[in-house]
């Protein structure tokens, strides 16, 4: 017996697929997750209802979701920017660490300045540090054709060790000299905090607003400028780029630096919006950089979609904190998140192929 369904390659990709397939994937994930929940003795409907309630339904819950979403948005943008040129930058994690280091430095060094100046310098230093860190990967690739996947990943570990060194193993500029028992960083003064913006009773982190602005700029850069056009040509056809006199080397370095700068900006927001200190352990536990890869994949590398995906994933993890307890292991939330990614990747196939019912023998021998 042969399967009555078969895959046929799509000649064109209709527009509705851009939103239809992600929605279908999400639905698939919910169904699969429902089976898992049911098997563990939970009522799937009530769990989903609680996720919606704790993640999105109230203004309070939504405000907390935006807090979780902000770093995802930055690392998601960072990954999208690089992936769009075919550069697999998985070093968002380390670039974000460097961003926290840069921003914490600026927040401490310029604390006598007005708030606007402090925030601006924190943003600039966060981007500079993250961008420079990623540029190392770009330069290595442009000059020596090293594999960016490996170098960017390895630099994550280097960044983590550097971060630990600054707080735990040295009396660096960042370390609070008064912390003896458990070493911590110097706290920023209140003046350096990035204040939330309130719309009604929803509190929007300032960093989230910055992320939205960054997403719009990235979208414009990639869709409406010469730079974006050249990146597109290099990504789709290196031969055609050479033919048109577009130099790929500089673009590799620039795009990597841009990607790192966005991740670094996420690090700055982490310091300015939330932690207000260079928290070496806290930022490493979060794994924002790796989640950014998931965000970029789900958003199909579209910077504007990345914001929505970040909010969605932010809501999920936020609801996860709320749900988890003795009767609800934290692993179940992770399982749900994993299933969503899994079906999203599977859904990618549907954008390139269509499912067709094939004519069975019962329809008559027609071949």
């Amino acid at each position: 017996m042969q399967s009555p369904l078969r895959l046929e390659r799509r000649l064109t990709q209709p527009k509705w697929l851009n939103w239809g397939v992600p929605l279908l994937s999400l639905l698939g994930a919910l169904i699969l997750g429902g089976i898992v929940l049911f098997a563990t003795g939970k009522n799937p409907i009530s769990v989903y209802a609680r996720i919606v309630e704790r993640g999105f339904a109230s203004t309070d819950a939504f405000s907390r979701t935006l807090i979780s979403a902000t770093p995802f948005a930055f690392t998601g943008l960072a990954a999208s920017v690089a992936f769009r040129m075919g550069l697999i930058n998985i070093g968002g994690e380390g670039q974000l660490y460097l961003g926290t280091i840069g921003a914490a430095f600026a927040g401490i060094a310029f604390q006598d300045q007005p708030t606007a100046v402090i925030i601006a310098t924190m943003i600039i230093f966060g981007m500079l540090f993250g961008g420079a860190w990623a540029a190392i990967v770009g330069i290595l690739k442009a000059k020596f054709s090293t594999n960016e996947i490996i170098t960017s990943l390895m630099l994550n570990y280097v960044a983590a060790i550097f971060l630990d060194y600054l707080i735990f193993n040295s009396s660096s500029y960042w370390r609070d000299p008064k912390s003896y028992g458990f070493p911590t960083g110097k706290r920023l003064i209140k003046n350096a905090y990035w204040n939330d913006i309130s719309i009604g009773s929803i509190e929007i982190p300032f960093g989230f607003v910055v992320a939205v602005v960054a997403a719009v700029i990235v979208w414009f850069l990639y869709n409406r400028t010469r730079f974006g056009y050249e990146v597109g040509v290099i990504a789709s056809s290196p031969n055609a780029a050479r033919y048109a006199g577009i130099r790929a080397r500089w673009k590799i370095i620039t795009v990597m630096a841009l990607s790192g700068a966005l991740a670094g900006l996420g690090g700055a927001s982490d310091v300015g919006d939330f932690r207000h200190v260079l928290d070496a352990k806290g930022v490493q536990i979060s794994g924002y950089g790796y989640t950014g890869i998931v965000v970029a994949a789900l958003a199909r590398l579209n910077p504007l979609s990345a914001i929505f995906v970040a909010v969605f994933l932010g809501g999920l993890s936020n609801a996860g904190y709320a749900l988890q307890g003795p009767d609800f292991p934290s692993g179940l939330v992770g399982t749900l998140q994993g299933l969503i990614l899994f079906t999203a990747v599977a859904g990618e196939i549907l954008t390139r192929y269509r499912i067709k019912r094939q004519n069975t023998i019962a329809d008559g021998v027609i071949v």
Binding site: T225, R226, Y229, G245
Partner: protein, 502 residues
């Protein structure tokens, strides 16, 4: 095959095609690009299922679900793009996919059988060589051997000569003849009239998805076939030129150029040539004798190791594409879809590939979409490009329309010199005519054209002067009026004219 209908979204690729082939004949399937030849063969090998119609094998209606099942029933296919594993040996590729009861492959028995088959049909290939070591012609022989090894009684070849040199094509024809002499059937898909006449016993002509006619090769002529194929008379005669070439008014001067190929070997040896205003200079030669490297050096894609290139008497900096472009060089590469164009990008984005850097296409680094779209619409109209809209990806266009887009962009850049490589390769008769007319128009308007082609017929139709390239050197420089096929062919093969006179 009876009344085969196959529809794709928006097109009927086969519209009631009838086709039959006998044992012991070479049956050619002739038609323009898009006539439905490949679709028909894919139906025959089980890759596509027909929407209507039946396929019979030895009077029995058959139903193939996959190429594998078709091959089990004795129908093998050699595709245009080979399906070989580069790092495997010839023998390993041939036995690949064979169901074997033991865990280990018994290659030695296979190697013996392969060698026996190879000798039987006069196919020269070393079973222990690895695929990447072989030339394209040899790889094709491996594909044929693979089909024979798996017991193909019917062998389908899709445009087999597109990748071959004339000599390789001749040896392919010999192999095919020895196969049909054994009672096998060869289905030969092509749009080249001459080779169909040379190799086929019978010819079925397809046009726009329908069978036009099936005729005995002996009772027809090239001209009749061309008429059947395109539905009207096509004349490939010397094109009449409005302007007279000015070979002494030099627009492109190449002096003593040396260059290396991708592997670092010497590809060009002290090449010197000139192209005058309104002149079409053709470079004849078998592919792989340095033509691609020469085109790339002139276009600035490949740095030369010695010598200079001057356009309008000004030396162009070495290996700088953009400098070459601004100096007035236009380069139409052989690989249209992946070098001259970006296959996945839209028609309008491809049209600006060389002009996006400045006004009016971009302003302050920002692309002006409205201008781009308006210009694209104008260009599509002017050059009669068949595309649903300006945002369709270029890879979805037919070969002829792809080339129209590429040429449109290059003509509109108002060059002084055009380097054009195999501009009509793979195109159908109607598109060939169009491309040639455009090239002649360009020359008439004053552009110097350097035409690199393997197609002697094309060279004789267009060129004012013919250069022959052999192993990286120019070995002949003959005014078209004094040239004949024999002398050019001799030079292309490495012979010399003076030797012939002795």
């Amino acid at each position: 095959m009876n009344g085969i209908v196959k529809r794709f979204p928006g097109v009927v690729a086969n519209d009631g095609v009838n086709f039959e082939a006998r044992a012991g004949e070479v049956h050619a399937l002739l038609g323009e690009n898009g006539a439905g030849k490949s679709t028909l063969s894919n139906v025959l090998t089980g890759l596509y299922r027909p929407d209507e119609g039946t396929v019979s094998l030895n009077d029995e209606i058959v139903h193939f679900d996959s190429p594998r099942i078709a091959l089990e029933r004795g129908i093998g296919m050699v595709h245009q793009h080979f399906r070989l594993v580069n790092s495997f040996t010839v023998a390993e590729n041939i036995i690949l996919g064979e169901r074997s009861s033991s865990l280990f492959m018994d290659t030695s028995a296979a190697v013996e059988r392969i060698s026996a088959l190879a000798t039987q049909y006069g196919i020269a290939v070393d079973p222990s060589a690895r695929i990447w070591q072989l030339s394209v012609g040899e790889q094709q022989r491996v594909e044929i051997l693979k089909a024979l090894y798996h017991g193909a009684k019917v062998l389908i070849l899709d445009e087999p000569t597109a990748v071959l040199t004339p000599q390789e094509a001749d040896s392919l024809f010999r192999v095919l003849r020895s196969m049909v002499a054994e009672g096998r059937t060869v289905i030969f898909i092509s749009h080249k009239l001459d080779e169909v006449m040379a190799v086929a016993d019978r010819i079925t002509v397809l046009r726009a998805g329908k069978t036009v006619s099936t005729i005995e090769c002996a009772t027809t002529t090239t001209r009749d076939l061309a008429r059947l194929m395109v539905g009207r008379d096509v004349v490939f005669n010397r094109v009449i030129r409005a302007n007279h070439a000015e070979p002494n008014n030099i627009v492109l001067q190449v002096s003593n150029i040396d260059a290396t190929d991708d592997r670092g070997g010497q590809a060009l040896k002290s090449i010197s040539l000139t192209v005058g205003k309104s002149e079409i200079v053709a470079i004849a030669g078998v592919a792989g004798n340095g033509q691609r490297e020469l085109a790339e050096v002139i276009g600035g894609m490949r740095p030369s190791t010695r010598g200079t290139i001057a356009v309008n008497n000004e030396v162009v900096p070495n290996g700088r594409v953009r400098k070459a472009m601004t100096a007035g060089v236009s380069h139409v590469p052989e690989d249209r879809l992946h070098t001259g164009l970006v296959a996945d990008h839209s028609v309008e984005d491809n049209l600006i590939l060389k002009s996006y850097r400045g006004a009016p296409i971009s302003k302050m680094s920002v692309l002006r979409r409205r201008v781009i779209r308006a210009q694209a619409k104008e260009t599509i109209e002017k050059y009669d490009v068949k595309t649903p809209d300006t945002i369709t990806p270029i890879r979805l266009l037919s070969g002829g329309n792809v080339q129209k887009v590429l040429l449109a962009r290059e003509f509109d850049s108002l060059p002084s010199v055009m380097v054009v490589s195999s501009p009509t390769r793979g195109l159908d008769v109607g598109a060939i005519e169009n491309v040639r007319k455009r090239l002649v128009d360009a020359a008439d308007s004053g552009v110097g054209v350097l035409l690199i082609s393997e197609d002697l017929e094309e060279i004789f139709a267009l060129a004012d002067r013919i250069l022959v390239m052999y192993e990286g050197s120019i070995v002949g420089n003959i005014p078209a009026a004094e040239a004949n096929r024999e002398s050019i062919g001799l030079l292309m093969g490495g012979g010399s004219l003076s030797a012939e006179n002795n």
